[in-house]
Symmetry: C2
Subunit: 212 residues, 2 copies
DNA sequence: GAAAAAAATTGAACGCATTCATTTTTTCAG
DNA sequence: CTGAAAAAATGAATGCGTTCAATTTTTTTC
């Protein structure tokens, strides 16, 4: 049996996270005051800081959930990619984009990106870039799979190109979060153009390259 | 003759910017207190806000100077690029990187990037991304020049690839500013690897493509 | 050159995230 | 069950960017 203390801790933790999540959704991250979150969670401000290191810590919890789900979905695409390189990259990146607004608003994404850049020595930043690296690795894995299958040229540097593609999809996503009026379709369309430009360069030579 | 008021205004403006720049360099942007800047500039806090909209505004002035100089230097590279695509891209991007720490510290760069992402409707953000766009445009211009000269394949989408390459060099630069121990040489080396991977794909076909 | 008008300066006050000394609650030994 | 020790909760205080009503300085008008 879990002790009283332990049970109360878990309940409060959940309560704070729920209250914060709701407030973030309603008024945005920046406008959500700590006292308001504490009050909604029926907890004092001091107690809030007993459970979370700071306001950003709340955001991190939500971002982690989001990216973990997206990584999971991405695995399926990497395991069984569409036939062409263009379709495969498009499918993977669309998976990322389409999921992006499930738990987070654009403003929350912006805040997360800003915090992760500004304070690199922070647990927030470390975790955020860990997640980023996992996504980039997934793009690279897709490229490797396409190479193994002969869909794209085998002499391309998959790791470097995976990083390049991830940097680009990330930059476009940043642009998306920075324009509150941009629909997801616009983002997807732009991404498609870049994917087309890149896959245009990745077609394998008609005859296999001589070994060595 | 300029009136007394006008002369004093110019003097104060300079004084504040000089004081801020010095303090940023000494203790960093975040640790530089507005009262300290005001005091060093021999001005009250209220007056500071009469001359600059906020703390970020000071940073913007310095960032603008930095990027404008780099754009100017970049023009020379675009006007007379090295012989190979790899050398040309390397030269342009090195120009950017090598200049980057002249006026700004890594911490100042991080802050600038974070602010520009977090508050997109701000003059800071608008200006920052204007400068970014100008840099990306310069990369595209270089690619176009290389296409015109036949150094890289003419059927590549220069605008899309310019954007992709800029996003990537930007992401690597962000990584550089986030690691206080990383020397410029490491950044340059990583960039070289990505440039090699990309230019490997950009070589023109041995025979010119048929028209149309 | 004095008085009125315009512009600029000033520092105390405000909002908000975070900290910390004090109080309350829970656990546990006997 | 009791009292001491440990853990957690609390809200007033702090630090810092920014605002604003009151004051001072400069310009203009006659």
């Amino acid at each position: 049996m879990a002790g009283l203390r332990e049970r109360q801790k878990a309940k409060r933790n959940r309560s704070i996270l729920t209250a914060a999540s709701a407030l973030f959704g309603q008024v945005g991250y920046e406008a959500a005051r700590i006292d308001a979150i504490a009050e909604a969670a029926e907890v004092s401000v001091g107690t809030f800081y007993n459970y979370f290191e700071n306001k950003a810590d709340l955001l991190l919890a939500i971002v982690s959930m989001e990216v973990e789900e997206v990584l999971h979905q991405g695995e399926a695409v990497v395991a069984a990619p569409p036939a062409t390189a263009e379709a495969a990259l498009f499918a993977l990146i669309s998976t990322y984009y389409d999921h992006s607004l499930v738990y987070l608003t654009k403003e929350m994404w912006r805040t997360a990106m800003a915090l992760s850049i500004q304070h690199p020595e922070t647990p927030f930043s470390r975790r955020y870039f860990e997640l980023d690296a996992a996504l980039a690795e997934q793009v690279t894995a897709l490229l490797r799979g396409l190479q193994a299958r002969g869909t794209i040229r085998r002499d391309a540097d998959a790791a470097a190109l995976g990083a390049v593609i991830f940097a680009d999809l990330n930059a476009m996503f940043t642009g998306f979060t920075m324009d509150e009026t941009m629909p997801l379709a616009t983002l997807t369309g732009r991404m498609a153009a870049h994917v087309a430009a890149l896959t245009g360069l990745l077609a394998p030579p008609l005859r296999p390259l001589p070994a060595g």
